[in-house]
């Protein structure tokens, strides 16, 4: 299963602005995989959104889900 991950703010300094992963089934799994690929991510603070909704706990992913990694907002 292919999942698209889009990345924002300061996290883009570590990962670039998007990453595609195969073989991730849920968000915990996704975060672990990302931390392995990009060790700099591990100690960063960010929220995870699946299809534009911020998730509070581990969530299953569907084919073509878009996952976003959102560091602390700083608009305004």
């Amino acid at each position: 299963m292919q999942v698209k991950i889009i990345i924002f703010g300061q996290l883009t300094d570590i990962t670039g602005t998007s990453v595609s992963l195969d073989n991730v089934t849920d968000t915990d799994n996704l975060v672990k995989t990302m931390n392995k690929l990009y060790p700099g991510l591990a100690d960063k603070k960010y929220l995870v959104a699946v299809d534009k909704k911020i998730i509070a706990e581990n969530s299953l992913l569907k084919e073509n889900s878009t996952v976003a990694l959102l560091p602390p907002f700083s608009g305004g």
Binding site: A49, K52, P72, F73, S74, G75, G76
Partner: protein
Amino acid sequence: MKDRKPKNIFVQGAIPPSFIADSIQKHSTQTTIGGHSIFLGQVRADMINDKKVASIDYTTYEEMALEKMQEIREGIFEKYDLTCMHVYHSLGNVAAGEISLFVFASAAHRKAAIQACEETVEKIKAELPVWGKELFEDETYQWKENKQSQ
């Protein structure tokens, strides 16, 4: 209501004062309005470790931000007796001294306009997926962080 396409709030670059004047002018036909409350966010030339912020480069997760803004708007309209509210946020580069956020709430009576404007500003700062990258004069940068309600 819930399903309508969210309004775009983003403008490329700084929000010019003439744009603000035009927005105010357009409300002169709405003669049930008694008070407007406006908040403008301006980019500060902060000194950070002896380096001066020259501009901020704003990016967003646009689809999510527009949905979130729509949700914020609906909450504000349920809570306050407003005539109308308009929100504009910059994307891209905004120089120190320029305006990057424009929140404009109008109501028959001042309290509703003032409270709605303030609450909307707080929610935008806390909930809208927008990021600012502070660019220094020497072309290095750091990512901006919003402090709570300062």
